[in-house]
Amino acid sequence: MPSFANFGNELYTGKRSYNFVGAKKIWFIIAAVAVALSILIPVAKGGFNLGIEFRGGSEFTVSNVKTTDAAVGEKAVTDVVEGSVPRVANVAGTTMRIQTDKLTDDETLRIKEGLTSAYGVTDNEVTSTFVGPTWGADVTKQALIGLVIFVLLAAVLMAVYFRTWKMSLSAIAGMAVTMFVTAGVYALSDFEVTPSAIIGFLTVLSYSLYDTVVVFDKIRENTADVDASTRRTFAEEVNLAVNQTLVRSINTMMVAILPVGAILFIGAGLLGAGTLRDLSLALFVGILIGTAATIFIAAPMYAWLRQNEPDLVRQAKRVEHRRAESSSRSGSTAVEPAQA
């Protein structure tokens, strides 16, 4: 595909340039709306669809069933526990999943027997899981503690590496947008929130910062001697760096998302709900949003945070002055680079 290589060449030289930094207001508004929606959707839907790990209860999995009729499974449960409302679902092919409220050991065994005969399977094809209501909360609490510690440490790491806290702040802002929107999409999908989904979110967190660091490293390189240059303003240098790494961003996103997408669409189609599907949905959305957030949120925000620094204001004036001079002398309409 010569055009893609050419695309990369033009992005590199700046011949083709997308105005990521200059149009920041648009991106910020889109992000704000997306974040607001992501908060409103779960609220409107009455919260997330919490998995059994958070509600607590018992879950039976019956494999190789003869019939995928949900009523059979419901009856097997209500025969033992009257008045209970089991959730019966055909999760994949010939596998049924039956979730109930918390059961006693005796009830569990009897329901297991009931399900075995109801679905015409052997004893070892029915498995049961019991989850205390605090387990999911416990996992989440520890995960949140981990998240906070990680974000703080990562902020320090980036501030030290890039030698400016403004990069840390921008990277974390981009990450926050990613997290909110991913959670919003997850709520919208009505997938159950399980510990696997939490794992997915944590990975997105790390991926999002990782992606930002790669792009920021190019920005650092491009803006290292911006003071001495009158060619581009600081914001333009940032924009050029984002454009120059655009091909890498697209390629990385594609390579990261292909296996995840394979799990989400192929694996989950075969397996139904479960660890892999929950995890891959969170990742799929997170990688897409995370890549976009780096380009549209983190980088423009960094340029915006620094644009009022006295040195850079002076530098921008010099650039402007030089351009004004050269264009007035040339007397022709010049195609100006991206305005920031």
């Binding site: 290589a5 990369g8 060449n9 590199y12 700046g14 011949k15 340039s17 790990e53 596998t95 050991d105 094809e125 029915v126 019991f130 989850v131 205390g132 387990w135 416990d138 996992v139 520890q142 995960a143 981990g146 990680f150 440490l153 990562a154 696997s196 794992i199 944590l202 910062l209 990782y210 660091v213 790669v214 490293d217 009158t230 060619r231 790494t245 091909v247 890498r248 990385t252 594609m254 390579v255 990261a256 998302i257 292909l258 296996p259 995840v260 394979a262 799990i263 192929i266 660890t275 892999l276 990742l283 990688i287 001079e325 050269s326 002398r329 040339s330 195609v335 100006e336 680079p337 991206a338």
Partner: protein, 586 residues
């Protein structure tokens, strides 16, 4: 890096990588041959099938549990599970808060109750003792000689507790092969027939014990020390001290008053009346049965005799643990059939393979022949990860869970990113007009920093999650960290050296159309462009070239610095020489 003078830079590093891989393979092969390791990575319960229980310890009164108590709890659970005859149970603590019990198969409800129950410690008087082995059938007491209670027992040491059934039970009890199906906890008001398991050089002993006289909850604390002699001098004998609360002190005084009489009546130290002993019983097993040498009135008995420092500490720990009844709440219990786990693993791997194939297609499409370097690098990273997991499964008992498999599949993307970053930098250098050999070196210098900085973020995430998180989040964090390290090794020791070598081949070095590094396709501007003009790599072509009419350009040029003038010249040339450039700038 073999950059100085060597004709084949990178070769040495590649050899080193080969050595590392060979050593790891040899280690694993050695372990497999010794029968300890296996070529297949160990699978966690969710893939292998079995039951995993996550237990949260609960202390009566709701106070927090400390690490020492948790370790005690694990020891107790291990004893209970092993006692119930479940083979290969794994018991571990997690994040200093929970106890994870993994068992193959489905535990019986007795096993489950047993695991959950709080530690049950108490003190019972000994009525009768004997060697741990069962009495042979022929020498068992005949029916008419069985002890028959003549009256209601009047105190804990009254032999009227021993009924014919209890005696038969005592005769039949085999302490070396305890019954697999543990019964429910004994009734504290009734006598108990039980064993003291063999420990060290002491053989197993079985007992008939009277009813519970002092409860473990009456213990305030316990410690161990070197015994003090009569003159207060420290001897070489280890001793365990117990301290009872007020209730315990009163009861224990009563018990020792009675037991000490048996001791004195039997002739003091030379006597051998089992009724002078009291048994410390934990979970219905005797952990120690000392004789009562004196009446203890202050609630501070000292147990001595044949302790090593270790055994004294063990007993003291057990006593303290018994003093603090910890029960366990099942937080989650998961039973996975081996078929379901296997199916999940197969589907997960299938999806992973499909994803990987897509990555292969995409890299070849994007990077042509260079895509093969990506694929080869991924393969090497895969081998490294596999070896690490298999070896860790052997040495650290690391088990691969479904979350871990997902972590590895996810890592494909992040691993490939290192190569993408690197390749893009090389292409950037080519666009600057460098030759491939120097483009590889310069691109590497820049890419190295980026790769290190970004992998640091990944490693940080993996480390924090591993140490803070619980449950399968940990397994995931572990694989994430593992793959990040494998990735760094591969980028530094495989991808870069390979490119160094490839850069010197004709196919890549001359920028074959299919090499993915074709300077023409990359729109490279040669460093030397004739007419004595050498472009320095530092001044890149400007972003957008304003079109100029010649006169104005000359005027502007006069006002530029030398560097800027050179720039402008170059831009002009660019605009003139490249059709597409002219089109773009209008």
């Amino acid at each position: 890096m073999a950059r100085t003078g060597s004709k084949k830079p990178g070769l040495r590093v590649l050899v080193w990588l080969g050595v590392i891989l060979a050593v790891l393979t040899a280690v694993l092969a050695g372990g497999t041959m010794a029968g300890q390791a296996s070529w297949a990575p160990k699978l966690a319960l969710d893939l292998e099938g079995g039951t995993q229980m996550i237990l949260a310890p609960k202390v009566e009164g709701g106070s927090d549990i400390n690490e020492e108590q948790l370790n005690q709890a694990v020891a107790i659970i291990r004893q209970r599970v092993d006692g119930s005859g479940v083979a290969e149970a794994e018991i571990s603590t997690q994040s200093g808060r929970n106890v994870v019990v993994s068992l193959p198969g489905t535990p019986s409800s007795q096993t489950r109750d047993l695991i959950q129950a709080s530690a049950d410690m108490n003190f019972r008087p000994v009525l009768l003792n004997g060697a741990g082995a069962p009495v042979p059938e022929e020498s068992r007491a005949p029916e008419d000689q069985l002890p028959k209670p003549a009256a209601e027992p009047t105190n804990g040491s009254d032999t009227n507790w021993i009924t014919p059934e209890i005696y038969r039970q005592f005769e039949a009890l085999d302490c070396d092969n305890p019954a697999q199906d543990e019964q429910e906890r004994s009734d504290p008001a009734k006598p108990l027939v039980t064993c003291e398991p063999a420990s060290g050089t002491n053989p197993a002993v079985k007992y008939i014990l009277g009813p519970v006289e002092v409860k473990g909850s009456n213990i305030v604390t316990s410690s161990f020390q070197l015994q003090q002699g009569a003159q207060g001098a420290v001897t070489n004998e280890w001793a365990v001290n117990i301290q009872f609360d007020d209730e315990g002190t009163a009861k224990f005084k009563e018990v020792t008053e009675r037991l000490n009489q048996f001791y004195v009546a039997a002739g003091g130290d030379t006597g051998n009346d089992p009724k002078a002993q009291f048994a410390i019983v934990l979970d219905d097993q005797v952990i120690s049965a000392p004789r009562s040498l004196a009446v203890i009135t202050d609630g501070r008995p000292q147990i001595t005799g044949g302790f090593t420092e270790q055994s004294a500490k063990a007993l003291s720990d057990q006593l303290r643990f018994g003093a603090l009844p910890i029960s366990f709440e099942i937080q989650s219990e998961q039973q996975i059939s081996a078929t379901l786990g296997g199916e999940q693993l197969r589907m997960g791997l299938l999806a992973g393979v499909i994803g990987l194939l897509l990555v292969v297609v995409y890299s070849l499409f994007q990077y042509r022949a260079l895509g093969f370097v990506t694929i080869a690098s991924l393969v090497v990273a895969g081998i490294l990860t596999y070896l690490a997991i298999a070896i860790l499964g052997w040495t650290e008992n690391y088990r691969l869970s479904l979350a871990g498999v997902a972590g590895i599949i996810v890592a494909i993307g992040q691993t490939a990113d290192s190569f993408i970053v690197y390749f893009e930098r090389i292409r950037d250098e080519l666009r600057e007009g460098r030759g491939l050999v120097s483009a590889v070196e310069n691109g590497w210098k820049r890419a190295k920093r980026t790769v290190l900085a970004s992998k640091a973020v990944n490693l940080l995430a993996a480390l924090v999650l591993y140490f803070v998180a619980v449950g399968n989040v940990r397994g995931f964090a572990f694989t994430l960290g593992l793959t990040a390290i494998a990735d760094l090794i591969v980028v530094f020791m495989f991808t870069h050296p390979t490119l160094q070598l490839l850069a010197r081949t004709k196919f890549f070095g001359e920028g074959h159309r299919l090499s993915g590094l074709d300077p023409k396709r990359l729109g490279a501007v040669p460093l030397y462009r004739g007419a004595g003009r050498i472009r320095t790599p530092e001044d890149k072509p400007a972003a957008v070239v304003p079109a100029k009419n010649a006169g104005a350009a000359a005027e502007a040029e006069r006002r530029l610095t030398i560097a800027e003038r050179r720039m402008a010249q170059k831009q002009e040339q660019l605009a003139g020489s490249s059709k597409s450039a002219a089109k773009e700038t209008k």
